[in-house]
């Protein structure tokens, strides 16, 4: 019987004591020009499967390989099961969470572990090709906000796990401003907006004289009306609301986000991939087609609308109506496109103001797409666009804060979106509680929520130098959203998965990295080659 501790410690191949001892011994012997013999390994067991567990006979009795308490190895669940998928995701999540910078996290998902044929990797290395560039293996479904297909709202609700509260904004959330004060501001602002409409309004009709005055449609340049409105509100009440001075605003920003969504219906074409087989999981890449016209950002997040746990599950409403969700995106006209996963919230990472409070979008397709649709259908299309724009921006923004689809949000993120074509305005408030959508819905306790208004008309028509049917309600809703202040301070850590926030304005860096998806050069020259610096 062997004296001392009874349980042998599990030794890895990379155990420093064993490796260093061996190398030292062998190299010293070789330098003496003697014939060496490999040290025989002995484990005390002749029937070993994992040879990495073996240690040299000379080290077998050393005390560091023995413990009083047994140390069991990790239990890996059987492969091709849901448990194994969860286990692998958990390991990957730990790995990503330990990465100190956003850049590394993005690079992990963009270039990740090699999943292609090793022979191809070898050939590409020999030819000095960038393997990810030439053999692009990711084929996420490219999702757009517009054009929206008929009856696509259940699909958009499913891919973002969102419950929609239609025809209203949360009343308690916007009760911070009193009605009298609101009316005062509206009175100060109204004339500026009317002037902007009169200055910008144009008739686009060839036979204008034959159309009666009531039916003539004025098209205004929405961007200029928005500018006038924002400027007027800033002038009127800028001194009373200090957070307006702390905000940053962007113009014409791009927006893109990548995430994985489980819960799609089982598909015979996907049966070879175990992740898909286990959970019906697909990769989705949202790309905003029209640049977001104006985006306001602040250092601190907006307060939450509802507690995180009390949001209504999105699937509940669909199932109550007896409708099934989880159809493949190809059914709604989206195709898998070869692209590198990328996240673009509209600012560089490390920016001091990383929480988007309000964005104003002027979708070009508004008039073109919605002209032939009835009211209910047009509302659905706009709702899809509002959900997708808000969720996409939050996912990209969360990535820059260190949260990924593997590392769940530790606090809800709220944002507000406005869509307009100058005359019709639609307002949305979105609270994201979860971005880990790859999980099955039963395992994820959180749901996202979106409050929406119907499209409201700012004015009816223009007659001469007079705006007919001007609607103060639009101004009231805009002012409520624009003046909503972020939280004053937080006790919690807003970036728990980032150690250092780096801020880089290198020109070369941003043009080189392919996961920013900068537009291609117009002079026809190829883009500069990608040189990873990580």
């Amino acid at each position: 019987m062997r004296p001392g501790p009874l349980f042998r410690r599990v030794v890895n191949r990379s155990c420093p004591t064993v490796i260093s001892n061996r190398t030292f011994q062998s190299s010293s012997l070789r330098s003496g020009n003697q014939r060496t013999t490999v040290t025989p390994y002995y484990d005390g067991n002749d029937f070993v499967r994992d040879r990495s567990q073996l240690i040299p006979r000379s080290l077998y009795h050393q005390p560091e390989h023995w413990t009083d308490e047994p140390e069991y190895p990790e239990i890996v669940p059987p492969r091709k099961t849901r448990a194994f998928v969860n286990y692998e995701r958990h390991k990957e999540a730990e790995k990503v969470a330990a990465m100190p910078t956003v850049k590394e996290k993005m690079a992990h998902f963009a270039f990740g572990p090699p999943l292609v044929n090793p022979l191809k990797v070898y050939i590409a290395r020999q030819a000095k090709l960038d393997i990810r560039r030439w053999y692009q293996i990711f084929q996420p479904y490219e999702i757009e906000g517009f054009p929206v297909k008929y009856d696509a709202l259940p699909f958009y609700k499913h891919i973002t796990r969102t419950a929609v509260v239609a025809d209203q904004l949360p009343a308690d959330y916007y009760a911070y401003i009193e009605e009298a004060e609101l009316n005062d501001i509206v009175d100060k602002v109204r004339q500026t907006v009317i002037n902007a409409i009169l200055a910008e309004g144009r008739y686009y009709s060839k036979n204008l004289d034959q159309i009666p005055v009531e039916e003539r449609v004025v098209v205004v340049q929405a961007q200029n009306v928005i500018d006038a409105l924002v400027r007027a509100v800033n002038l009127a009440v800028g001194k009373d609301f200090p957070h307006l001075r702390e905000m940053q605003q962007d113009t014409d920003t791009r927006c893109a986000a990548f995430w994985k969504r489980g819960g799609f219906l089982h598909d015979a074409q996907l049966k070879r991939r175990i992740y898909d087989k286990a959970s019906g999981e697909l990769m989705l890449q949202y790309i905003e087609e029209d640049n977001i016209f104006r985006n306001f950002r602040h250092e601190l997040p907006l307060p939450e609308v509802l507690p995180r746990e009390s949001c209504v599950p999105s699937a509940a409403t669909e199932q109550a109506e007896g409708r099934q969700v989880g159809y493949n995106p190809t059914i709604y006209g989206f195709r898998p496109e070869k692209s590198i996963p990328h996240w673009i919230p509209g600012h560089w990472f490390g920016d001091p103001c990383e929480f988007s409070t309000l964005s104003l979008d002027v979708p070009k397709a508004w008039t073109r797409q919605l002209s032939g649709q009835d009211e209910a259908q047009a509302f659905e299309s706009l709702a899809c666009n509002a959900i997708m724009a808000s969720f996409g921006r939050i996912v990209a923004q969360a990535m820059y804060l260190g949260f990924t689809f593997l590392n769940e949000l530790s606090y809800p993120i709220v944002t507000q979106s406005i869509m307009t074509n100058g005359r019709d305005w639609m307002f949305a408030t979105y609270q994201a509680n979860t971005i880990a959508l790859w999980k099955p819905d039963e395992e994820n306790p959180f749901n996202n929520m979106c409050w929406l208004t119907q499209p409201v008309k700012l004015f009816d028509r223009v007659e001469g130098s007079e705006v007919i049917g001007f609607n103060d309600e639009v101004l009231r809703l805009f002012i409520k959203q624009y003046l909503k202040a972020p939280v004053t301070s937080t006790n919690s850590n807003l970036r728990p998965y980032i150690e250092k926030t780096e801020r880089s304005y290198w020109k070369n860096e941003h043009s080189q990295t392919p996961f920013y998806h900068r537009p291609t050069r117009r002079d026809g020259k190829p883009r500069q080659p990608f040189k990873p610096e990580i």
Partner: protein
């Protein structure tokens, strides 16, 4: 819709004439799960989205909301001579109807029909086996019919 140009009617010509569309549409079972207000068709290569909509609304009164078409490339198949040939391309259409419409692809082979078919197939296979047996037993009369004997 018709691509043919028919001769102008003149007095004395046939009065009744049926104009049939030159196109065909075939309802097929979709490969993926699709919503109940959607249907999948194989259609003629010359048909446009507007043609599909007109075909379904004017002839069958289907409340069509949206049509999407795509062309699937024909597969490469190996010719017995050794070279490869490409099968012809095929155009498909996904037709979305109004929300309240519910359509499920019919079960073309219910149990009764399937049983009859299986029975028929069994009969065929029995006959085939019998023929092979006869052939092996009467190998010396190869090429002659089995009923032919001295």
């Amino acid at each position: 819709m018709a691509t043919k140009t028919y001769p102008l009617w003149k007095p004395g010509g046939p009065q009744l004439r049926i104009f049939l569309p030159d196109f065909y549409m075939k309802l097929v079972r979709p490969a993926r799960a699709i919503p109940p207000n959607m249907a999948h068709f194989k259609i003629d290569m010359k048909m446009s989205k507007i043609d599909v909509k007109n075909y379904l609304t004017k002839i069958y009164n289907v409340p069509v909301k949206e049509v999407r078409t795509h062309i699937k490339k024909g597969m490469l198949i190996r010719h017995p001579a050794g070279h490869k040939v490409e099968e012809p391309d095929q155009k498909y259409a996904f037709v979305t109807m109004e929300k309240n419409v519910e359509f499920h692809f019919p079960n073309l082979f219910p149990d009764v029909v399937r049983q009859a078919l299986e029975k028929e197939e069994e009969g065929f296979s029995d006959a085939l086996n019998k023929m092979r047996l006869d052939k092996s037993q009467k190998w010396h009369r190869s090429g002659a019919p089995t009923w032919f004997s001295v």
